[in-house]
């Protein structure tokens, strides 16, 4: 009889098990991780961005980064191309010091099963040719991004650096 009660107790514990909520520590769809470097330095030196605004050309709100040398930007999981405006000093109130470069990311997508709670995730692989195309905006203001290099073309998680930008 004691055994039966013990069993019932175990069952009741199992009923409480929560695996319906996707845990934030589970690696799911990654963002593109970009590290910024000083273009003028002879050796690779990290350089922080100031009030960098990243925004979709069709959106009115973007993501701002200030005083960091590593940023994460989202890629579209529904298309093989994501275009983002990278505006130096764009997220401050002063519009006169802005310098805009448009980056077009070209990649292929792979949908991978994660778990019951998280469903699937999208993994991206930047194209071998023209992975990132730098475009000047309609009103040309010169390129502030001097060089872009791909560190890791296949994006698996956010604990790795995928792209280096020199400015």
């Amino acid at each position: 009889m004691k055994k039966i009660f013990l069993l019932l107790f175990v069952f009741s514990l199992l009923g409480c098990e929560k695996d319906d909520i996707c845990d934030a520590t589970t690696p799911t769809t990654p963002r593109l991780v970009i590290e910024f470097y000083d273009f003028t330095a002879s050796t690779e030196t990290l350089k922080s961005v100031t009030n960098l605004g990243v925004i979709d050309p069709n959106f009115t709100t973007g993501i701002s980064f200030n005083g960091v040398n590593k940023i994460q930007v989202p890629l579209k999981t529904t298309e093989d191309t994501t275009t983002l405006r990278f505006i130096q000093n764009g997220s401050d109130t002063d519009a006169t010091n802005d310098n805009e470069d448009i980056l077009q990311f070209n990649y292929s997508r792979n949908e991978v099963y994660v778990s019951r709670a998280c469903g699937f995730k999208t993994l991206f692989t930047l194209n071998a040719t023209n992975p990132i195309i730098q475009i000047e905006p309609a009103v040309a203001d010169g390129a502030w991004i001097k060089n872009i290099s791909i560190v890791k073309a296949n994006l698996e998680n956010e604990n790795e650096v995928h792209v280096k930008i020199f400015f």
Partner: protein
């Protein structure tokens, strides 16, 4: 004549005494020897059967059987088929397959002679062969700057999947009418092997039920079964004295 009468009377007495003797023997004979009934009990799981009616996305049936080996030991088995569609937040899939569980039950209930009620614990080894169809899924994006992606229809089917597990169970069976038993059992399952599809998971296994992150699972059944008596065996007096 007098002698004849005397003779016949004594003869009658003699016969009567014989008759009496014979009757005594007969009375002794009519006391039934203590017997234990053995047989096959077959039934159906009402839980799965009724679920098939009220749950749109579920079809299933399970047949159960047990056979009494000794007063306390039974061999037992379940065989079933399930077709279940699960609609989770991010996944929608259908599992189809059949399963077989075999093992034993240990009866802890002291029955009166001839009765087969049970309060038991038992073990099973389960085997299931099934397929999974991924109907649709959603991409999880913790940073939905571009908005959450819509559900993506798939229809991809994964065939030839198998799983094996061990069950520990506890339950009861009681005779409601002559030879008709109702029963229920709760089960704790532990996966021994699980052949997962490439690029998906076995989130439901026929017979095992829903899988969790670990290897454990739970089950339950409500049965109604019929006892088919096959043979009786006399209980040896020694066994009676022990009681």
């Amino acid at each position: 004549m007098k002698y004849t009468l005397k003779y016949s009377f004594s003869l009658l007495l003699l016969v009567a005494s014989f008759l009496g003797n014979a009757q005594k023997v007969k009375v002794k004979d009519s006391i039934k020897p203590k017997t234990e009934r053995y047989g096959l009990r077959v039934g159906v799981d009402l839980f799965k059967l009724t679920r098939s009616f009220y749950e749109k996305d579920y079809r299933g049936i399970e047949l159960v059987g047990d056979f009494k080996l000794t007063r306390k030991h039974y061999i037992a088995a379940e065989i079933g088929t399930e077709n279940k569609t699960v609609d989770d937040d991010r996944l929608n899939f259908t599992t189809k397959g059949t399963y077989l569980k075999a093992g034993f039950d240990f009866n802890g209930y002291e029955n009166w002679l001839g009765m087969n009620n049970m309060l038991y614990v038992g073990m099973r080894y389960g085997f299931s062969s099934f397929s999974q169809t991924l109907n649709s899924y959603t991409i999880y994006n913790p940073n939905p700057y571009f908005g959450q992606a819509p559900e993506i229809p798939s229809g991809e089917k994964f065939n030839g999947l198998t799983a094996q597990w061990v069950e520990v169970l506890a339950g009861a069976k009681a005779e409601m009418f002559k030879n008709f038993y109702v029963g229920m059992s709760v089960r704790l399952n532990y996966l021994v092997s699980n052949k997962k599809p490439d690029g998906f998971d076995n989130l439901y296994i026929p017979g095992f039920n829903r899988t969790y992150d670990g290897k454990f699972g739970v089950g339950i059944n409500y049965t109604i079964s019929y006892f088919v008596p096959i043979f009786k065996s006399e209980v040896k007096p020694k066994e009676g004295k022990k009681k």
